[in-house]
Symmetry: C2
DNA sequence: CGCACCCTTGATCGTTTTCAAAATGTGTGG
DNA sequence: CCACACATTTTGAAAACGATCAAGGGTGCG
């Protein structure tokens, strides 16, 4: 109740220009903060939610990174998304009332817990928030379409190049270096996401390094030749939306 | 203004239980009809919208079928979705204000043209409509995740089996036969959607027929052994949502 | 009826998977 | 700080799956 609350508010959150507050007035942001009070910290590998969990919250990533995945009927999983700060998790659970897949922290991460019913009624009163929610849904759909393009038509080489560029540009958008970043996910998750095997990913990373396109030290990546990498990807650098 | 209007209204539309009216009262449906006045008929191959077109409308499919596709930077396309009556097209255009991909009729089809700004303000007043819009967005995301699972992990055989089951169950949901239906899309589009070549699709269809799983006459498909097909697909029959 | 397009079928080629093993990295407790 | 155990990553060789190239057969529309 005191002013000493350690809870970070939307107003001073480092990802507010990527998250729900976009387009909101100071006053509206204050109203939004009633919804975003609850935070959660997760350790590496800890699940944010599991497949089948009832849908009650959305989660806004404040820091760290996540993978989300769906589980097929025969038990095998497909990583569908790597999520970075400012992005929302759980949107696909609304229609059925339960999470169709799970989400798991790839490193020490923190999220805002957003009770959806509260968010929904606030959005009903604040058109700018409504628009932002539509926008996030829509953006998500667009990104999934791009992911489909990647999986459907491209060679293994193309896919990995595209992923590296994608992640690089998303980090850049958040104010980090575009050329040097950490690939927080294990090779196996990358492979799964790209529809490949861990061995193929490993071979490709080695090859990219030999060709002087990137430098690799463990999970740390330095992009040395963005142009060449973009050509391999077959998609221009502007892989991200808006 | 007269009662003789030939325009089909939501109230008596054959897909109203799959479309925006879900959950709406009679009164709300009448208000919705002000937004859904405009219809459009398309012939086979005619585009509903093109990549880059400004976003102003959503389109609700009343009859027929569509493919939607995105176009990569180097010009090649990926079919991302086959859309059937009751489904909405254009949702992924909201965030950027322009359609990132195109949609094209696969047969003589008809759609409701929904000016989004009107729909948006009506939804602001009608919570049930708001919920239905969220639900459709969310459902769409879930379906794309399932498509990713398909493309990422499965063999060609699995993918085709899953597509057949998916389409079958979607027709069934609309009141048509689950075991006999028309594959309105050319083989090449199926192949593209599944990340395969037309030749592979053709071979697989032949093989499924030889194995007694399906019967094929041109684009007409009869499913003879749903169980076996489901096993091949690796996903249970309930491929669709909710 | 003829032409164009779509679909089928066959043979070969290439990429990616699979199987196997070694090397590197990570975390733990001594 | 080091040593050990375990997981992840890298690398190699062989096999498989689907792509590509090529030709022939249907089907529908003018």
């Amino acid at each position: 109740m005191g002013k000493l609350s350690t809870a970070v508010s939307c107003g001073n959150c480092s990802v507010k220009r990527l998250c729900l507050p976009v387009g909101l007035s100071e006053e509206d942001i204050q109203r939004l903060e009633h919804v975003t009070r609850k935070k959660k910290i997760l350790k590496t590998g800890e699940p944010l939610f599991r497949a089948g969990d009832p849908f009650s919250n959305l989660y806004a990533i404040r820091s760290g990174s996540f993978k989300s995945a769906v589980i097929g009927a025969d038990g095998d999983t497909q990583v569908t998304h790597f999520a970075l700060p400012g992005e929302l998790l759980g949107l696909d659970a609304y229609s059925s009332g339960a999470h169709p897949g799970y989400a798991e922290a790839l490193e020490e991460s923190s999220v805002c817990v957003l009770p959806f019913t509260q968010l929904e009624s606030l959005a009903q009163q604040v058109p700018a928030l409504q628009k932002q929610i539509y926008s996030i849904f829509s953006e998500e759909l667009k990104q999934e379409n791009e992911a489909l393009l990647l999986l459907g038509k491209r060679s293994a080489e193309s896919r990995l190049a595209a992923l590296l560029i994608n992640i690089s540009s998303r980090y850049a958008r958040r104010g980090y270096s575009a050329s040097e970043f950490l690939l927080t996910m294990p090779r196996m998750d990358i492979a799964n996401y790209l529809g490949l095997t861990a061995e193929t990913v490993s071979r490709l990373i080695s090859r990219f390094q030999k060709q002087g396109l990137i430098r690799v030290r463990g999970r740390a990546i330095t992009i040395l030749d963005l142009i060449a990498l973009s050509e391999l990807a077959g998609t221009h650098c502007s892989y991200e939306g808006s």
